[in-house]
C-alpha cells in the first residue's frame, strides 16, 4: 500500500496488482452462512464491492437480516436505484457496514418488466422513501408498502417512464452532439443497414 513517492510511475497501469484491496472473503462466507438458499446465484466480488442477488419477494426479509444480524450490521443505506436491463428490471441497493471494508450491493433481480413489483424497505430506512419514489417515477417500479409512492420529478399527469430503455429520445435530441462518436459511426454505415435496436445489457 505505502509506496515510495520516488518510485517511477507508469501511467495507465492496471489496478489489479498495486492499489486494489484484498477481497473480503470472510464477508462472503458470512453472507453465504446467514442468507443460505435465499441467495439467487453466487456471491460476486470485484474491486471493493461484494454483490449478491436475491429474488424480489425476498428483499424485505434479506434486508432485515442484513440490517439486524450482529455479525453483518449493515445499518447505512448508501444508495437505492432502479435499473432497466432491456429485458428485466432490477432494484439495486448499496449498503455500508463497519464490519467490512466492502460496499455490499444487493440486486433484486428479474422483476417482471410489464409489472415490476418489489417490497418497500421503508420499514427499515424511512429515508429510502424518496429513493423509491424516484425509481417509481423513472422506471415504474412499484414498491409495495411505500406510503407515498407518487411521481417526484415528473409532473403528476405524466404517463411514461423516462429511464426505461424503450423510452427513446426524440430525433433532434439523438442528433445532438450528445450522441458523440456513436453517431459518427452510424453515419458511416451503408444506407440500407438496419437501424440500431434499443440497447440491452450484456452486463446483466
Amino acid at each position: 500500500m505505502a509506496r515510495s513517492p520516488h518510485r517511477p510511475q507508469r501511467a495507465g497501469r492496471r489496478l489489479s496488482d498495486g492499489r486494489s484491496r484484498a477481497i473480503d472473503s470472510a464477508l462472503k462466507r458470512r453472507l453465504e452462512a446467514t442468507l443460505g438458499e435465499r441467495l439467487y446465484g453466487p456471491v460476486a466480488q470485484r474491486h471493493d464491492t461484494t454483490e449478491i442477488r436475491v429474488a424480489p419477494g425476498d428483499v424485505a426479509a434479506v434486508m432485515r437480516t442484513l440490517h439486524d444480524d450482529p455479525d453483518l450490521r449493515f445499518r447505512l443505506l448508501a444508495d437505492i436505484c432502479g435499473v432497466d436491463t432491456g429485458t428485466t428490471m432490477q432494484v439495486v441497493y448499496h449498503l455500508w457496514s463497519d464490519t467490512t471494508p466492502d460496499w455490499l450491493r444487493v440486486i433484486a433481480a428479474d422483476l417482471d418488466r410489464d409489472d415490476p413489483r418489489v417490497p418497500s424497505i421503508t420499514f427499515l430506512w424511512k429515508g429510502a422513501e424518496w429513493g423509491e419514489r424516484e425509481a417509481y417515477d423513472m422506471f415504474g417500479i412499484v414498491f409495495e408498502g411505500n406510503r407515498d409512492l407518487r411521481r417526484i420529478y415528473m409532473p403528476p399527469d405524466y404517463t411514461s417512464f423516462p429511464l426505461r430503455k424503450d423510452f427513446l429520445l426524440p430525433d433532434d435530441a439523438s442528433r445532438s452532439p450528445g450522441m458523440g462518436v456513436r453517431h459518427m459511426e452510424q453515419a458511416r454505415r451503408p444506407a440500407d443497414a438496419p437501424a440500431a435496436a434499443p440497447r440491452s445489457a450484456k452486463a446483466g
Binding site: M1, A2, P5, Q9, A11, G12, R14, L15, G18, R19, R46, T49, E51, R75, L76, A78, D79, C81, V83, D84, V92, H94, W96, D98, P101, W103, R105, W125, K126, G127, A128, E129, W130, G131, R147, D148, L149, R150, R151, I152, Y153, M154, P155, P156, D157, P162, L163, F167, A173, S174, G178, M179, G180, V181, R182, R199, A201, K202, A203, G204
Partner: protein, 408 residues
C-alpha cells in the same frame, strides 16, 4: 372563440370555499384526487389549518424548491416538498453521451462544489476500466476538492445567517470563496463549473499562478476563518435561533439515510474518506469532527471544524505532492468491459455516489447519481413540524441542499 367552462375549485385561502378560478398543478391543493395514503392525509385540511406555498421562487429555498406548508397559525403542522422544477434528466442524457462527456454533464449538478460532482463519475469509470491514476493526479484531486470544500462551507455559513436575517456573514463568506474561486480559475480556467477531472487523471498540472495564489491564501486562511467565526458564533440572536432547532438523534439520522454534516452532527463519525477510503486519503492525517447535539447549531459548528481539517489536509498535500504525469495513457474512445461499479466520495454535503453500468460500448448503460442533498432534504419533513414558519428556513439552510443536485 369559445371559453372553456371553468370548474369550481377549492380556494387556496379557505378550503371550505369554492371559487371559479381554474386550478393548476401549481396550486397548493392539487386539482386531482390524492394518489397515495400520505397525499390524502396531507391535503385534508382540518379546522384552523391552512396550506401555503413556500417557493418555488422563494430565496430561502436555495434554488427552485417548492414546499407546501400546512400551518396552524404560525406553527408548521406538516409539510410536503415538491421537486422537479430543475429536473433535466441528467441520467438519461449521460446514457446517450460517451464517457468523456459524462464528466461535463455531471459537472453542474452540485454547482457550489462541482469538483465533487465531476470526480465521482470519473472514479466510477476508472473502476470499470481498471485504470490506475498517477499519484500526482490523485494528490491534485485531493487538493482541488479540499479547496472547493472550503469555498462551499464558507458559503454555507453565510447562507445560514442570511436565511436567519443576517446580511453580513454572507459577504465574508464570499470573500473567502472569491479567493479560492480565483485560485481554481487559474488552475482550471473556470470559476464555477470547473470541468477539471478527467478519466485517468486531471486536465492540467499545477501552474505558477495557482501556487502563488494558494501560498498567499494559506498564510491567512486559518486566521480568516477564526475571524468570521467570531461574527456569528456567539451572536445571541443567531445562537437562540439555531440551538435546539431541528434536533435529530442517531437512530433517526441513520433511518433517514442522512450523510455528511447532518449525520456527523448527531455523533456518528461516518465520513467516506475514512469509512471507505478512496484516492490518497489513507496517507493523509485528519480528524473527523463530530458533535453530539444534532441541531442546527451543531451542524453549523461542524462546518467550521471541517474547514480547519481541510486546511490541514491541503498543508500535507503541498508537502507530499510527488512528481510525475497527471494523466494516465488512455485511448480517446473508452469502451469499458461489461460490468458494474460503485464509487462514492465525501462531498461537502455528504456521500456523493455514482453507480455505473457498462455494456461494452462507449456510452454508459446506466449511470445512477446519488446526490446527498436529495437524501438530506428529505428529513426536512421530519424536523420542521412543530416549529415556526421562519424556522423552516433555518432548518432547511442547515441541511444545505443544492437544488441542482436534488433535481438532477
Amino acid at each position: 372563440m369559445s371559453t372553456t367552462p371553468q370548474a369550481r375549485v377549492r380556494s387556496l385561502d379557505d378550503p371550505e370555499l369554492y371559487v371559479e378560478t381554474p386550478a393548476t398543478i401549481f396550486d397548493a391543493i392539487p386539482p386531482y384526487p390524492p394518489r397515495t395514503e400520505r397525499e390524502a392525509e396531507f391535503y385534508s385540511v382540518r379546522e384552523g389549518e391552512m396550506l401555503i406555498n413556500l417557493g418555488p421562487q422563494h430565496p430561502s429555498t436555495h434554488g427552485v424548491l417548492r414546499v407546501v406548508l400546512k400551518i396552524d397559525g404560525e406553527r408548521v403542522v406538516d409539510l410536503d416538498p415538491v421537486l422537479g422544477y430543475l429536473h433535466r434528466g441528467v441520467e438519461k442524457i449521460c446514457e446517450n453521451s460517451d464517457w468523456h462527456m459524462v464528466v461535463s454533464h455531471c459537472d453542474p449538478l452540485e454547482y457550489i462544489a462541482s469538483m465533487f460532482s465531476e470526480l465521482v463519475p470519473v472514479m466510477a469509470a476508472e473502476k470499470l476500466l481498471d485504470v490506475e491514476v498517477p499519484r500526482r493526479a490523485e494528490y491534485i484531486r485531493v487538493l482541488a476538492c479540499e479547496l472547493n470544500r472550503i469555498s462551499s462551507h464558507a458559503l454555507f455559513m453565510g447562507w445560514l445567517a442570511l436565511d436567519l436575517g443576517g446580511l453580513t456573514p454572507i459577504l465574508y463568506g464570499f470573500i473567502e470563496r472569491d479567493e479560492i474561486v480565483e485560485m481554481l480559475a487559474a488552475l482550471t480556467g473556470q470559476k464555477l463549473l470547473f470541468n477539471y477531472m478527467r478519466i485517468g487523471g486531471v486536465n492540467g498540472d499545477l501552474n505558477h499562478e495557482f501556487m502563488s495564489r494558494l501560498g498567499d491564501w494559506m498564510g491567512h486562511a486559518a486566521q480568516r476563518i477564526e475571524d468570521s467565526q467570531t461574527l456569528i458564533n456567539e451572536n445571541e440572536i443567531f445562537v437562540k435561533r439555531t440551538r435546539g432547532l431541528g434536533v435529530i438523534d442517531r437512530e433517526t439520522a441513520l433511518r433517514m439515510c442522512l450523510s455528511g454534516p447532518p449525520l456527523r452532527a448527531t455523533g456518528i463519525p461516518y465520513d467516506v474518506r475514512r469509512a471507505h477510503p478512496y484516492g490518497v486519503y489513507p496517507e493523509l492525517e485528519f480528524e473527523i469532527p463530530t458533535r453530539e447535539e444534532g441541531d442546527s447549531y451543531a451542524r453549523y459548528q461542524l462546518h467550521l471544524d471541517e474547514i480547519k481539517q481541510s486546511i490541514h489536509i491541503i498543508d500535507q498535500v503541498l508537502h507530499k505532492l510527488p512528481d510525475g504525469p497527471v494523466m494516465a495513457k488512455l485511448p480517446r474512445l473508452l469502451r469499458p468491459r461489461p460490468g458494474r461499479a460503485f464509487a462514492a466520495i465525501e462531498s461537502p454535503r455528504g456521500q456523493y455516489a455514482v453507480y455505473a453500468m457498462s455494456d461494452g460500448t462507449d456510452q454508459p448503460f446506466r449511470l445512477r447519481i446519488h446526490d446527498p442533498s436529495y437524501f438530506n432534504l428529505q428529513s426536512v419533513g421530519l424536523l420542521t413540524p412543530g416549529h415556526l414558519i421562519a424556522d423552516t428556513m433555518a432548518i432547511m439552510a442547515s441541511l444545505d441542499p443544492i437544488m441542482g443536485g436534488v433535481d438532477k
